[in-house]
Amino acid sequence: MADKPIGGEKRVFMTGNEVVAYGALAAGADIMYGYPITPQNEIMHYWTRMVPKYGKRFLQTEDELSAGFTTIGGVMAGKKAFTATAGPGNVLMQEPMSMAEAMRLPTVTVVQQRGGPSTATVIYSQQEVTLTTMGGNGEGLRIVYSTATHQELFDYTIKAFNTAWKYRFPTFILGDGYQAKMRESLTLYDPADRHIEMIAPEAFVGKPGMPGVDRPPAQYRNTYSMEEELAEVLAKNIGEYEAIADEISEYEEIGTEGADLVIVAHGVVSRAAKLAVRDLAEEGIRVGYFRPITLRPLPVAKIRELAGQAKTFLVVESAYGQLARLIMEAAFGNTVKIVPLYKPGVGVTAEEVITRVKELVGRST
């Protein structure tokens, strides 16, 4: 059995799903629970092949409800557990993730967005933003990373385990069907070689010692009798979430300084937006680019700053306003105009962004 899955840096050519499996491996994940659903199946296919090679574990559950709850069981046992899903499976995943939110459990979930609602297509969309950021019956105390490249899928899968175990909020990597299946080069590495310290998991239950004698029994619940009890728990959790928001929120911006128009996009669409900004600049049209990397917590301060400077945000997404709503809420009070380029369930090209920008700035194509 191989010892270290990834020894030294290596430039490789892979599909996104495989990258997630290798990322989990590099992060020292112990066990994956999952249920088949396109387009994330290859994460399971690759993980099951790694199981005997690296002494990992895997369980194919009966459905996504179970995949989420078994992942909860896994983290409570003190193991780095993760799951992956998409579309209708993500809808089911909200029940266990609500419990993870309530009980501050460090689950890691990879979502490869597909067309919605319902079964729709297996291909791609950005229509699970609302679901993944705010899908449970709570206040969305979760951390959501929206990746755009395979390198990021690797980097952020590793980061997700650390984020989850350090801050104890259910953590998500929000990819999509394009990222899942596209082939791209990236560099695989061992986190240790890059001085990334992997946070050790800790058991919630099953620690040594006799409960009630050697140690207090570890007793967890998610039910309260009175409003006041709940209010206290929520205040604590919300407080801790807000306290770390600035520390963990991430974004990317290009040329926003003095720009009247800023293109706002996340995930794989941000690649088209970036290309558009570059091509437009070559034609002498200067626009800015802003990409939130964490959709939860959103980089609110930065958004407010940009909303105070720019006249227009062109929000580009493969959904019908799911990103826009997040941006609008953060920007509330500023007079920036929000202009949509919505293509729910369909990919967006740089050309389409360029055309729209030219319309907005009054230039002919």
């Binding site: 249920y35 088949p36 659903i37 396109t38 199946n41 399971m44 296919h45 099951t48 092949r49 005997p52 895997f58 369980l59 194919q60 009966e62 459905d63 996504e64 209708p88 319902s118 079964t119």
Partner: protein, 250 residues
């Protein structure tokens, strides 16, 4: 001279040739179902529900009102339909994943309530549509995309015995059987009795059909028949498990 294949009357001709793989068992099970519906004369009363997975390809197969549901949810949808309009003949059609995995709770619940519906479950031992992952009925040692080294019963259990479970938890009045596409006449008889049971309002009716998937089994014709006729019956016994007294059962 072209010879038109004989199709059940309730089949939709304009959606043929159908979309299932060559050698698929679904075409055979749906033929048995079609013949039973023809013989009972209930084409105008049947509502056909299909699941996600290969059964989804049956959504425009018949001249029957049809609804394609979410994965594993055909039973509750058909249950809801039947409860709201008992004159309908509700047929819930699903695969081994939809029925024994994600839909298992619905199978247990609808069976325990003795819902007056007919469930037909196609067992081909893996998740065909998504590329061949392990299913509850995958047999020990069988290789699938999520059991690449062969299913290990120690860690993943033994193949689900669906009709056995359903016959145990249903009350008197239920009809439970397991047929096989290897014996079409028998399969058609089982399905017909299952539908008759619903029409008489006696209780739940459930038929599992051992079926073929040469595509994901990667088997040629001979190996495919061997699989369904020799290998699968080692784990899945063909026959009637529960027959209401009024139908001649003990």
């Amino acid at each position: 001279m072209t010879i038109e294949p004989v199709m059940p009357k309730c089949w939709r001709v304009d959606t043929k040739p159908h979309k299932f793989c060559p050698g698929c068992g679904h075409g055979l099970v749906l033929k048995a179902l079609g013949e039973a519906i023809d013989e009972l004369g209930i084409q105008d009363r049947v509502v056909f529900g299909c699941d996600i997975g290969c059964s989804l390809l049956a959504w425009d197969f018949f001249n029957l009102d049809t609804v394609q549901t979410h994965h594993g949810r055909t039973l509750p949808v058909i249950t809801g339909l039947k409860r709201a309009n008992p004159d309908l003949i509700g047929v819930a059609y699903m695969g081994d994943g939809g029925g024994y995995s994600i839909g298992a709770q619905h199978l247990v619940s609808s069976a325990t309530r003795n819902e007056k519906i007919t469930a037909i479950l196609v067992n081909n031992t893996q998740y065909g549509m998504t590329g061949g992952q392990m299913a509850p009925t995958t047999m020990p040692g069988q290789k699938t995309e999520t059991s690449p080294y062969g299913r290990d019963p120690e860690t993943t259990g033994t193949p689900t015995q669906g009709p056995e479970m359903v016959s145990t938890i249903t009350a008197e009045g239920a009809y439970v059987a397991r047929g096989s596409v290897f014996n079409m006449r028998q399969l058609k008889t089982f399905i017909q009795k299952a539908l008759e049971n619903q029409m008489a309002g006696r209780g739940y009716s459930f038929v599992e059909a051992l079926s073929l998937c040469p595509t994901n089994w990667r088997t040629n014709a001979e190996e495919t028949w061997n699989m369904v006729n020799k290998v699968m019956p080692e784990y899945f016994k063909v026959g009637e498990l529960k027959v209401p007294a009024d139908m001649g059962g003990r």
